[in-house]
């Protein structure tokens, strides 16, 4: 049904914090050019999943990226070099540095490897988020919540990732801004960036995604094309219905 090559695949991935298992035998795959979403309630292990895929946390099980195994000894920095980028839930911006410097550092890894075209990439990012251009000289710490999320995404795009992982990009933002962020996410697909989108806002996430997984208490409970998931009575009841959380 889908013949696009697999970009990232996790098989039976488990992650523990000490004795507590936060993620239990999770398997998922992201194909080239797809938007894949992982939805689920708070504390289901969504952030843990992304942290493990990015190399911030060690896990058990297999992760492969473009057919190549990514063991725990693959450091975060090396994964960035391979084209993986994470926009964490906390954004992790450089608060006392200007918007422009934050963006510039997004291209650090490419610069280090001799690719000095960060000026062009920055213009592209400014094209996607014109607001950032207006704020270029301002300190990142003085931005509004929505602008911070835009900066975090823009900074990640400066690395020209093949796979962009977004952790709760809508968290704490006003509905209008959320709509803008999601519109940008679906534009990324057109730019050839694959996206792994982790969200509590299931409705918005399933609208932009091609494929979805439902993560509950550390395990994948449901998976399928987004349209199917969105019409699945269990998903409607738990995540989309009027009685649901969102």
């Amino acid at each position: 049904m889908n013949s696009k090559p697999i970009l990232l695949e996790a098989r039976d991935l488990s992650v523990s914090y000490g004795k507590v298992e936060a993620l239990h035998k999770v398997s998922l795959r992201i194909r080239e050019g797809e938007i894949v979403t992982v939805i689920g309630p708070n504390g289901a292990g969504k952030t843990t999943l992304l942290s493990c895929l990015m190399g911030l946390l060690p896990g058990r099980g297999e992760v492969s990226y473009v057919g190549r195994p990514l063991g725990n000894d693959f450091e975060v920095e090396e994964r960035v070099g391979l084209g993986l980028t994470l926009v964490p839930e906390k954004r992790e911006l450089f608060a006392d540095m200007s918007v422009e410097d934050n963006l510039l550092l997004g291209a650090f890894d490419r610069y280090r490897r001799g690719q000095r075209d960060y000026g062009e990439t920055m213009q592209e990012v400014y094209g996607i988020f014109p607001r950032l251009k207006e704020r270029a000289g301002q300190m990142a710490g003085t931005l509004s919540g929505g602008e911070r999320q835009m900066l975090a995404m823009g900074r990640a795009l400066m690395a020209k990732p093949r796979l962009l992982m977004l952790d709760e990009p809508s968290l704490g933002l006003a509905p209008l801004i959320i709509r803008e962020i999601f519109r940008t996410v679906s534009r990324l697909r057109e730019m050839g960036v694959s996206v792994l989108l982790v969200e509590q806002n299931a409705r918005a996430a399933l609208q932009v995604a091609d494929f979805g997984y439902v993560l509950e208490t550390g395990e994948v409970s449901l998976e399928g094309p987004s349209a199917e998931l969105a019409s699945d009575p269990r998903v409607i009841e738990a995540y989309l219905g009027l009685g649901g959380k969102h």
Binding site: V76, E77, R91, E92, L104, L105, F108
Partner: protein
């Protein structure tokens, strides 16, 4: 105290203060990036000065053996790590940086008439020997425990300091040395004279501070160091490796330390263990800046310089006591005015 003595003491204070300011900046940098309180900062001052003195005496500086030994150790560790990761493509670079470069340096040093070289070449060679010790020490002593607590890193710093002092005695002996001034003579200013070496120190310190400022404000590597200091996780996610940032900050600290030693060795006799007190005075300046603010640390270090020089006139026996007592009101003031944040991150 008449005006002339005041001027003389002020000149002394300014000169010493400039050196303390450089060391304070290095300490703030190292702490901000790696959370290491770098007690051995002063040892680089002594190593720089004494290595230059050995070169000028026409002897192969013993510091070179330390570079060779640490380089070999780092090469073994890095190679083992690369092989474990199945990344044998990194081996050539590891061996070139840690083994081949020090060996080449040895070859170069052994093949030229060290004593006959012009001063500038001697200084460059001295820096080429002493500065690599910075990243090598980071690699061997701190990198394996980079995530440890500040206290743990401090204890390691004390250990590194003791080892470097011991090696200093072994390398340079107990005799103190002085190196000739960059330019002999003094400038007659009417009521006082200004030695040319003092001018060299002031100008070089100012230049180095401006260069550091430009490095942090304008270059992507300087910004990467600032980013690591601000947000380690955020920096790692941009591919800025904590190890790279640590090595780079230690390289700068070693450069600043060694260069400071080279600057002051014509005006003061330095022994193998002289660096410690000099480094500690820089540390007092860094503490005034809360180990966080570069300008306040530099200003604090200048204050230390003046305080030391004027107290040596009024109460020379208590000179050090007065300088180090300064830390108590500073700490009181800081703990009363700043919001206390728990250690780390």
């Amino acid at each position: 105290m008449d005006f002339q003595i005041a001027l003389l003491l002020g000149q002394d204070g300014l000169t010493n203060g400039a050196i303390y300011a450089l060391l304070a900046l290095a300490l703030v940098l190292v702490f901000a990036v790696t959370r290491v309180i770098f007690i051995p900062q002063g040892e680089f001052v002594a190593y720089g000065a004494l290595t230059l003195a050995m070169l000028q005496a026409g002897k192969l500086p013993a510091t070179l053996w330390l570079v060779l030994a640490l380089g070999a150790a780092a090469a073994v560790l890095d190679s083992a790590q690369a092989l474990r990761h199945g990344a044998s493509r990194r081996l050539p670079r590891i061996l070139a940086v840690n083994l081949a470069a020090p060996l080449l340096l040895w070859l170069l040093l052994a093949s030229v008439d060290l004593a006959g070289l012009p001063l500038l070449a001697q200084i460059v060679l001295t820096l080429a020997i002493v500065v690599p010790l910075g990243p090598l020490i980071y690699r061997l002593a701190y990198q394996p425990i980079a995530e440890a607590s500040v206290l743990m890193l401090l204890i390691v710093s004390v250990a590194v300091h003791v080892v470097l002092i011991g090696l200093g005695l072994l390398f340079f002996g107990a005799e103190g040395t002085r190196t000739p001034a960059f330019t002999d003579g003094a400038l007659d200013l009417g009521s006082t004279t200004l030695q040319y070496q003092t001018l060299w120190i002031l100008a070089s310190s100012a230049l180095l501070i401006v260069a550091l400022y430009a490095f942090f404000g304008r270059t992507i590597y300087g910004k990467a160091l600032r980013a690591t200091a601000l947000n380690r996780t955020g920096a790692r996610l941009m591919g800025i490796s904590t190890t790279m940032a640590g090595k780079l900050s230690f390289t700068l600290a070693a450069l600043i330390g060694a260069f400071s030693g080279i600057l002051i060795s014509p005006i003061t006799t330095l022994y193998y263990d002289s660096g410690f007190l000099i480094g500690l005075k820089g540390f007092v300046g860094a503490i005034i800046g809360g180990l966080a603010s570069y300008p306040v640390a530099a200003a604090g270090a200048l204050l230390v310089g003046f305080l030391e020089s004027y107290s040596s006139f009024y109460a020379s026996a208590y000179k050090e006591v007065i300088v180090f007592t300064l830390i108590i009101p500073v700490l009181l003031w800081r703990s009363l005015t700043s919001h206390h944040s728990e250690e780390d991150e």
